[in-house]
């Protein structure tokens, strides 16, 4: 468990924690630059996550771009190879589809294709996720595309402290990192949390057991971790002890922590917002079955987004997203 709960630590919302990480990185390393649409002052980004940074670090380092995602990612790749640590912002994850060639065919392969001569130390920050009535083209979680693309690291934080610590590690990592920020977390006071001041990094590839338990393991990442914790708390009243593992990074994956937990509980439920079919849960479920065959009390259950585009109507959108009731039902089923 991270010990970020110590009292004297300031409590921040996720958007501010990310802003702090960006500010710290730009302060300690002049090679850190940012590229993206509307990220500079006076507005400081459409979600205000980059507020103040262009004023403090200069518009030459916090660069407003045209609406040209291929150019944004491509420019970041070139600058990264040339020694910078660019942070490219793709405003909303669905827009990855307009620049995926730069991400998958270039950022992800250049190091390999060059035989290790060139590296691409860059971060692609992108906001994502449903729940705000944005409709089918502004609500997707597409991390599985990147996990299926060797060469890209993938990070999806759930708490403000994780967002800050993982973003700092991502910026100073020598590989391209896709850093997924769920819009619903940015300025939601309900998920605000203690964030240690300063350059405190959380290493990539280390899962965090957010709650210990013995009856069933719930594995998740990002926003849904909070739903899993709520379900775990509720079931605890009934004497069901759930362990909640927050993967935090999908690539590299901390498989050991997951397997150790499931080996202990013999039951697993995997939860993510992304469409369930061919989502990351499929990869993880397969691995758990491969590694722990015969030790499980029941099959690994997956709780993911519906196999549909994200609908607009508020009631349908809510049904698309895995809800606490769905997680609870899946847990009860594994306890069956």
């Amino acid at each position: 468990m991270t010990d970020t709960a110590a009292p004297e630590i300031p409590v921040l919302m996720t958007g501010l924690a990310i802003n702090q990480a960006l500010d710290i990185a730009m302060t300690i390393d002049p090679k850190v630059i940012m590229l993206g649409e509307d990220i500079a002052e006076p507005s400081g980004g459409v979600y205000k996550v980059t507020k103040g940074l262009s004023t403090k670090h200069g518009a030459h380092r916090v660069r407003k771009t045209p609406i040209s995602e291929q150019a944004i990612v491509g420019a970041a790749i070139g600058a990264a190879i040339a020694g910078y640590r660019p942070i490219a912002e793709i405003m909303i994850m669905d827009f990855l589809a307009v620049c995926l060639d730069q991400v998958s065919n270039h950022a992800g392969k250049i190091r390999y294709m060059s035989g290790g001569q060139t590296t691409v130390p860059m971060v692609i920050r992108t906001s994502a996720g449903a729940g705000r009535g944005f409709g089918a083209q502004h609500s997707e979680m597409l991390e599985a595309w990147a996990v299926h693309t060797p060469g890209i690291k993938v990070v999806v934080p759930s708490t403000p402290a994780d967002a800050k610590g993982l973003l700092l590690s991502s910026i100073f990592d020598d590989d391209p990192v896709l850093f997924v920020e769920q819009m619903m977390l940015y300025w939601n006071p309900a998920v605000a949390g203690p964030v240690p001041p300063g350059d405190v990094r959380i290493p990539l590839g280390v899962a965090d057991v957010k709650r210990e338990g013995s009856d069933v393991t719930i594995v998740s990442y990002g926003r849904q971790v909070h739903d899993c914790l709520a379900v775990a708390a509720k079931l605890a009243d009934e004497g069901v002890s759930c362990e909640v593992v927050d993967l935090r990074t999908l690539v590299p994956l901390d498989e050991a922590t997951v397997l150790a937990s499931v080996a202990k509980t013999k039951r697993a439920v995997i939860v993510h917002e992304a469409v369930q079919v061919c989502g990351f849960g499929a990869e993880l479920s397969s691995r758990i079955h491969e590694e722990l065959f015969g030790e499980l009390a029941g099959p690994v259950r997956r709780v993911g987004g519906a196999n549909t585009p994200v609908p607009y109507a508020s009631n349908l959108e809510a049904d698309f997203i895995p809800q606490q009731a769905d997680i609870e039902a899946a847990v009860r089923r594994t306890l069956g």
């Binding site: 649409e37 509307d38 006076p42 507005s43 459409v46 407003k64 771009t65 045209p66 609406i67 040209s68 995602e69 291929q70 669905d94 827009f95 589809a97 307009v98 705000r132 009535g133 944005f134 409709g135 089918a136 083209q137 502004h138 079919v277 519906a306 196999n307 549909t308 585009p309 609908p311 607009y312 109507a313 508020s314 009631n315 349908l316 049904d319 698309f320």
Partner: protein, 338 residues
Amino acid sequence: MADPVAGADRPDAPDRDTLLAMFEIQSRIKSCDERFRSMLTSGQIQLIYYSPRGQECISAGWGVHLRPDDQVVTIYRGLHDHLAKGVPLRELWAEFLGRATGTCKGKGGPMHITHPESGLMVTTGIVGAGIPIATGFGLAAQLDGSDRVCVVNFGDGASNIGAFHEGLNLAAVWNLPVVFVCQNNLYGEHTPYRMVTGVDHISDRAAGYGMAGVTVDGNDPVATWKVMGEAIARARAGEGPTLVEARTYRFWGHLMGDAMEYMDKDERKAAMAADPVLRYREWLLANGHATEEQLAEVEQTVLAAIDDAVEFAMNSPYPDASELYTDVYATVPGGAQS
């Protein structure tokens, strides 16, 4: 900014019916927008709203030239285009509010209004993406041997994305009946277009495709009507596509709730003071193209229709839960869920 419409009469003006038809469209857009904003402000409704206020004359300018079988593609900021193509108010309002009675059963929402019956074929939320799709409508018209045209609308910011380039070049080499309408409202979200665009007149990019390109004052209804008419006639005659840049101004920021701290206050004040819809109204009266009674009646009729549409939408049910899973595929063997 646009030069104000002269109080004087215009020799190049269309006939009275056309002038009034444009006024009717502008009123519908202006009043719909005002109703959305007031209901949002008062908290009666909640949704992500992109106001088209200030851009009315552009859609009205092509709207009066189009036939029912002509097709239109637009973007998230599309209310003015939807109305100019005749999407019915009730279904439009219901879709904006995510109701089962909406154009798309509430599943698409404002960013994805579709109403083929009216010829409103696609509304996209992806900047620039409607442009290549519009070439497909043009291709279909060409292959059908029909003289129908497709008008695709997008913003200044969209002119910097790859899809714009690919779509315009394809339309040019295939000589497709498509009119590319760049509604240059001077901003892309929080960014003045000139900060991120290498050229002053976006219409100058047409030359790079061997395509006709023209910039018009989109706040001048008569000039806009003329330019749109020429471009649409060219497309209908099989003489190829045109890139029309219509200059205008975005009154209310990128989306509702936008603090607009990045917009020049005086520039905005001046633009709103020169409200193209009000100026047009004055001009119609000043030059005897219409009487106060006529215009007031149009406005009353529009308001009544909006009252009706709002009531219809507000009293409409949300989609049934089963709708989440329908319309993903046209045909699924044994209804399999993948």
